[in-house]
Symmetry: C2
Subunit: 414 residues, 2 copies
């Protein structure tokens, strides 16, 4: 869509979607077929093909020795978890509930690490028993984990999450720098590392997470360099090479008009260069990044059906059976100051040229329930399907599904 | 808390809470007892006593002929729905899911009206069969309702939701004025009203909702006057007196430091005066308001337990087992620009003087998961319970409970 289109711009539709018989098609099936097979709308459709293509491009761009983990908080649908098993090197979880999903999907818990600032004793116990690596968030949590391991008679696999003094520039959400609930302030990490090693735990090194949803390769390159420097410094103070370093994530995806895809080639080249000249403390370390949104975000589409088409004061409203209870971020998170449009389309008229400015709203009784604001789209009628893209991450998992008694959407991996 | 307290101000703790043995007590039980009986934390506790007291004050302030409905979107816990049955005159719902909750609670569907811009055919059919009054949101929805009524052989009870040309000044969320997905633009309502009457439906008048969470009595008084004028004008154009007028809601509660309680006496006095001089079109009308947050918001407390106490760069973080997955609004809705604190307390040290600035955060891996920012509170330790007040409305029902695999909180009415 050009800047000159009427209405407000829509985000860029991700690559990998097809048109069959004029309709949006995913995995060789039209939107209408997918809805029929799933049993109705609203429906999240996740594409194996797009996830696999994303992973293939990422592997090609990154150094071979870099491990790539999947942070399941982005999308923990059981089929997605299982599909990832052959594509990624490990999984990152954030709760005991996510550990249960990992176990239920039949994934080997030794591939899993667990970060999160409020781990309860039962979560620590489940994770230690299963052989999950804990990214410890505080000295207090470390002591609890050691005590629980001893009580269970299991050697815990322990890493320390570091709160670095820097953050990731230009990231959508800064996770480091200054006072934070996450991790241990960098200057206190060496002492805690020595304590963990002395206590006889299986020492799994460091986790340094600095931000998320960055679209600037320069910012990520700079941050990764800082992470490697900090890890080297901490390892030196601990007095032994690091067994493992989780360098965090932060790879963003384009949601909005004007967003450019992240230049992963530049990130991979910079990492390759750094990896060619690692200090002794990191030379043999298991090096990994953890990505959630980047791996699955573009692979998902949210489909909902137009229930009413109405005009109010000369504006057209396409009222759907979906809404912010499934796609909170697309609606603007209960009142973002500057709301911008995710990419959107009329799925059942995917190759029809846009000819009308239309608002796409949800079925909830709140003016915040807007899926697409004044987008220039093909004229749509009751019964048409609307597609909201970029729905593979933090859609179903991060929206208030019970709001106004609506309940969750259907989900399908194709 | 005075303006001179260190840290950032907390919202005002609502009236009606007690102290027993130094702890916050609700319904004669301490926070610790309530948690033990409910089986753990996080736990929403709703107080019968506070709801009843709120209703009693409201009845005393409002004209006797004004009916007061409960909008269950604020809190649809089954025990709350049943408890309301003897306190309120009717219920307002926003989805077929909420209708199922009403039926499950054994509430007479003839007391219920249903508004919502995206009602599906199955929702219209269920509501018509049950005898629920539909607040129609468009001409298209009206035609669907009439057709479904005919097919079912049931006379539908139909009202029209009006999109007025004015909104409620100072309301937290404006629901009228300009182009909106809600209701029928005022100038098109008379024609639709005549159509509904001519079609033989049971004509239930108008629903005019203009905003929510207003703390200014003047704004509500002015809006109610506008609503009555508009209803009279529409009734005159339709050519017969109105059987019923739902004047909407909008009564707000104090969440933040500096918020003053709504002056309901002023609203009641103004309504009394208007009701004494109603035009012929409204003289015999069933007049009601619909309130959700105002009836239950102050009656709820969210209790969570401190899992970790940590210091980062000289700031104290009390990490709890709760978070934005249960109390999204208290956290700032995924990134409000100016985040303000709801009222908060250390429930297990309720009568201990504040002596330390502490952050209360949730257990989620996001810096947005903050329940109370730099509040001046009694020094708290691991195991203490934190109370976040104003949790009776739009807490459990409007938060992303599945985020990061956490699952819902417990809920109890005491």
């Amino acid at each position: 869509m050009s800047d000159k289109a009427p209405g407000k711009p829509l985000g860029p539709i991700p690559a990998g979607f097809d048109t069959i018989g004029g309709q949006l098609a995913i995995g060789g099936k039209t939107a209408a077929q997918l809805v029929q097979q799933a049993g109705g709308t609203p429906l999240f459709v996740y594409s194996r093909e797009i996830i696999a293509a994303t992973m293939a491009r990422l592997r090609a761009a990154m150094p071979a020795r870099l491990h790539i983990n999947y942070a399941i908080k982005a999308n923990s649908h059981p089929d997605v978890l299982r599909f990832m098993a052959d594509l990624v090197d490990g999984y990152d979880i954030a709760s005991g509930g996510e550990l249960e999903k990992i176990m239920a999907a039949g994934i080997d818990a030794s591939r899993v690490s667990f970060a999160g600032p409020g781990k309860r004793d039962w979560e620590l116990g489940s994770a230690i028993s299963a052989g999950v690596t804990l990214n410890l968030e505080s000295e207090g949590e470390a002591e609890r984990a050691l005590a629980i391991g001893e009580r269970l008679g299991v050697t815990p696999h322990l890493a320390i999450r570091v709160n670095p003094s820097f953050d990731m520039k230009g990231s959508g959400m800064k996770m480091g720098g200054g006072a934070k609930p996450f991790g241990v302030d960098a200057e206190r990490v060496p002492a805690l590392g020595r304590r963990i090693i002395a206590a006889g735990a299986d020492w799994r090194g460091l986790h340094i997470y600095t931000g998320s949803q960055a679209l600037s390769a320069d910012a990520i390159v700079e941050t990764q360099a800082n992470v490697l420097d900090l890890a080297d410094q901490i390892a030196s103070e601990i007095g032994q090479p690091l067994p493992k370093l989780n360098m965090g994530g932060g790879f963003g995806i384009p949601y909005f008009h004007g967003d450019e895809p992240l230049d992963i080639a530049a990130i991979g080249a910079a990492l390759e260069e750094r990896f060619g000249d690692l200090p002794a403390s990191l030379k043999d370390a298991h090096l990994c990044i953890e990505l959630g949104r980047y791996l699955v975000g573009l692979a998902g589409v949210y489909l909902c059906r137009i229930v009413d088409r109405k005009v109010s004061h000369d504006e057209v409203f396409l009222v759907t059976d979906g809404g912010l209870h499934h796609q909170l971020a697309a609606s603007g998170n209960f009142g973002t100051v500057v709301r911008r449009n995710y990419p959107a389309a009329i799925a059942t008229r995917f190759d029809t040229p846009a000819d009308e400015v239309q608002n796409v709203v949800g079925c909830l009784c709140t003016p915040l329930d807007k899926l697409s604001d004044k987008g220039f789209l093909p004229h749509a009628e009751v019964g048409d399907l609307v597609a909201i893209f970029c729905a593979g991450a933090y859609g179903a998992s991060a929206s208030p599904a019970q709001f106004l008694g609506q309940g969750p959407a259907l989900e399908v991996l194709v």
